[in-house]
Symmetry: C2
Subunit: 199 residues, 2 copies
């Protein structure tokens, strides 16, 4: 026995969400039927609204509802530093610290030969052009240390070799509160290699 | 720094889904922006469609897009047996077995005094009336053995005491493939109490 058509269609739509399989999609679809009608209409409008209103900032690739994003538009920010991140949510993570005052550049993902994603797919060319043309003094590479992250980082580093700009990467090591006993070997090795003199 | 308004609104909507917290809702909302526009429109329409088209069957409380659900409408089904389940998905679980040919009755949840849900909230009165009026011979209680499930089951059992109908409940015990060593004590106790003579 099959679910009614409208339920099947909604299940298929929920399955487009990241990490949502058949069982969760079913649970979500059935729960919609329990909501108030005005809530469902609001949900439905909110979906289309995001797709219609949210644009990519032409300067940094961050999301915005305006022409240029609020960070690129902000005259008080340090326009000589650019922090390269792999996705939009990372911008918000750094912004919530309220300690960084430079610009950002959001890559369209990471280089991943296995998935057929090369440097030309993630906007690196445009990043390099901006660095060259806009008198950037420091490029902070804030990219997760995965295999794809390291590949992307090395690639960008290579392209910037002959350009007069300081290239840094954020520190990797033992997070606060973690125990050396339980940390993975790769992180421990990075923590050891990046040790700092303290006295 | 806050997310754009349209993203915030969509996150709030995703948080209405069962088991979806802030982090998952953010992930879902950002993923919508990555979908094709026609897919988002389809998703949006599917939501409203479910809410508009899906009705509860007036006889058994199952979901349907028609006046009466396909099971209640089916003339070949055994109208003297009624299987009481706690939610709509349980109907589909039994139907997919293709071994049960009677009717169903879907409760609107379970009795839960802690949550202020009493017998009058879950449609039990109507169930009893149907059993009395429609010459039902067997009532199968297929309710999960939780505290609320047991309460509901005992309550229904009590109401049916003086009515000429066979009341059964589905068997609980060790599931196939499970190991006695790892089974919870309550299930093991039920399996022991419900033991059957084999020779």
């Amino acid at each position: 026995m099959e679910y009614p058509n409208s339920i099947i269609r909604l299940i298929e739509n929920f399955k487009r969400l990241p990490g949502v399989g058949e069982k969760s999609a079913e649970r979500y679809a059935f729960s919609i039927n329990e909501l108030e009608k005005e809530d469902v209409i609001d949900f439905s409008e909110a979906l289309v609204d995001v797709k219609t209103k949210i644009k990519k900032c032409p300067l940094c690739n961050n999301i915005t509802e305006d022409e240029v994003c609020s960070i690129c538009k902000d005259e008080t920010r340090d326009k000589s530093t650019i922090c390269v991140v792999e996705n939009i949510k990372n911008v918000f993570s750094f912004e919530n610290l309220s300690v960084y005052n430079g610009l950002y550049f959001v890559l369209d993902g990471l280089i991943s030969p296995i998935d057929g994603i090369g440097p030309e797919d993630i906007n690196i060319e445009y990043l390099i052009r901006r660095i060259k043309e806009e008198n950037i003094k420091e490029v902070i590479l804030a990219i997760n240390p995965s295999i794809e992250g390291e590949t992307t980082l090395l690639y960008i580093q290579k392209l910037l070799e002959n350009i007069d700009v300081t290239v840094t990467r954020i520190a990797h090591g033992i997070p606060l509160g973690a125990d050396i006993e339980y940390i993975d070997p790769l992180t421990l090795e990075m923590a050891l290699n990046d040790r700092k003199e303290v006295s």
